[in-house]
């Protein structure tokens, strides 16, 4: 089975992120593989282990993004492709999906494409479905359980109303949620292998596509409105504090 896992490099979630001079600033926080994408890589590797085949990790990004691919390689991906082109510095979701769809086509013969649920920076959660739509693949998003049975992918999806069971024949695009199960840590051997790996870089001309025109235009980056921070500490014995707190909460008229 030919499997692709799409990953993105993002600032660590522990970073204190602020808007400074119209730009997002995460200080000296490290850049890491998007935590959701680790679940995608895990699911891709488990599919390969069960069905045989290869897993190729793909990312779009500048030079530093190669580290996200090295993480995926260290986890056990067979190879990686780094899409890096100055014309791709600003991407909206549908542009990213167009580039990834072009890469999947160029890799050729791909059965399954795995994504994380969303990236922790942009929080869009659109690219998996958009890539599926562009490729004409089935879209199986928000999967917490993934099985391959009788020539079809069977997933349980986390929806508002409970777990939905959906099947589709490959080729398919999947996005994976945290309920799937903990992603493996890179092994020592994996890290050694990844550090030596030579990762091919693809530019737009390699993909044979023009730079996509973004439809979404970013206008301004802002800090969220600051919250009133006067915390009223309710004192007294536990019984008194509870009674007082109930009065206060009822006074807020939020119940």
């Amino acid at each position: 089975m030919k499997i692709v896992a799409c990953v993105k490099q993002v600032p660590d979630t522990a970073a204190k992120v602020t808007a400074e001079s119209g730009k997002v600033n995460w200080g000296d926080a490290p850049l890491v593989i998007n935590p959701w994408d680790e679940y995608a890589v895990e699911a891709a590797l488990q599919m390969k282990e069960a069905q045989g085949g290869t897993v190729t990790a793909v990312t779009i990004g500048g030079p530093s993004s190669a580290d996200a691919l090295k993480h995926a390689l260290a986890m056990g991906c067979d190879d990686a492709i780094h899409i890096n082109d100055p014309a791709l510095a600003v991407l909206d979701t549908q542009s990213a999906a167009r580039i990834l769809a072009a890469a999947v086509k160029k890799i050729d013969g791909v059965d399954l494409v795995f994504f994380g649920k969303e990236a922790v920076d942009g929080n869009s959660g659109l690219v998996a479905s958009q890539t599926a739509r562009l490729l004409g693949f089935a879209s199986l998003t928000l999967a917490s359980v993934v099985k391959f049975e009788n020539g079809a992918v069977r997933v349980e999806r986390a929806t508002e109303e409970g777990r939905q069971v959906v099947t589709a024949k490959p080729p398919a695009v999947l996005s994976i949620v945290k309920d799937y199960g903990e992603p493996r840590y890179p092994s020592f051997m994996g890290i050694r292998k990844a550090s030596k790996a030579v990762i091919p870089t693809w530019t737009l001309s390699d993909l044979g596509t023009a730079a996509p025109v973004p439809a979404v235009s970013m206008l301004e980056i802002l800090n969220p409105p600051s919250r009133e921070v006067n915390c009223e500490i309710i004192a007294g014995t536990p019984g008194e504090a509870a009674e007082k707190l109930v009065e206060k909460i009822l006074g807020e008229k939020v119940l």
Binding site: T18, I221, A241
Partner: protein, 336 residues
Amino acid sequence: MNIWVYIDHFKGSALPTSWEAVGVAKSLGATVTGLVLGSGVELVAKQAFEYGADSVILSDDPALADFRAEVFASTIAAASEIPDAIFLPTSTRGRELAAMLAIDLNTGVLVDVTSIELSGDKLVVTRPIYSGKIFQKETCVSKPQIVTLRGRSFPKPAPTAGKAGEIKKVAAKPEALTNVEGYTASEGGVSLTDAGVIVSGGRGVSNNPSLQPPAGMDEKAAEIWRAQQGFKLVGDLASVLGAAMGASRAAVDAGYVPYSHQVGQTGKVVSPDLYIACGISGAIQHLAGMRTSKVIVAINKDADAPIFKLARYGVVGDLFVILPELTEAFKKKLGK
């Protein structure tokens, strides 16, 4: 300006955010068309008028009984007279449908927006990114401008009983790539993202050394056992308040409660009227997921915990003592 609003529903029961979306579209002065797709969904169409839609595009077909994004997107994209904008709730269905429509109509999506204004004939929206650590203002330069709206961020309009309008029927495009087999048991309880009140527990919920676990448990099992006793207290308060139960990432990662309860940057972003944080210190990833709650209450042993910086009210103390008292006090006051 013409705006289509996708009326998201589950088996004929509309999500409140759908009506919030109709309300916002009307408040922008637009002519609003409700998009109602499903099987046996005349009632949803009727409600769409009552909540403010001027007309409805209806596709009522057994092939639409289960939501499948590829089928719904093809059906909508094939309808004529594509409008200036399409609004959808940011539900699992709304998000995926918006994603595919943007490809079919070659346009962009402004996703999970919390405020929206009209600048000329362009919609300018604000949406939280980095799970709310940053707000981004953006616009969509092509048409239709597709927007998904975060639930509980816009007022829900009051319905006008008996209001009706023109229904335009369109044929379903039933070519599907996926097959919905059904639902396993639902998670139960109140959904976090729709909840008006959330009571959450964190790592501190296991921190009750005086509780003696049953004999024969190893250290990890004993910790989880203690946490379950603690989460029972959290659940008791939640049930008196009709609230959803949330948890911090630390509590989920430690195996105290399932991931579906996680609030924060790698969990759900919530915005209830009342958020009660029990034994949650307030890691930056957690605060990002609940900071827009209207009133935040923190109960924690550690007076220096960062959660108090965001809280309107705080109690410094042992949640194992305070929570039962609080639950009793609410029961009395609310007459339960």
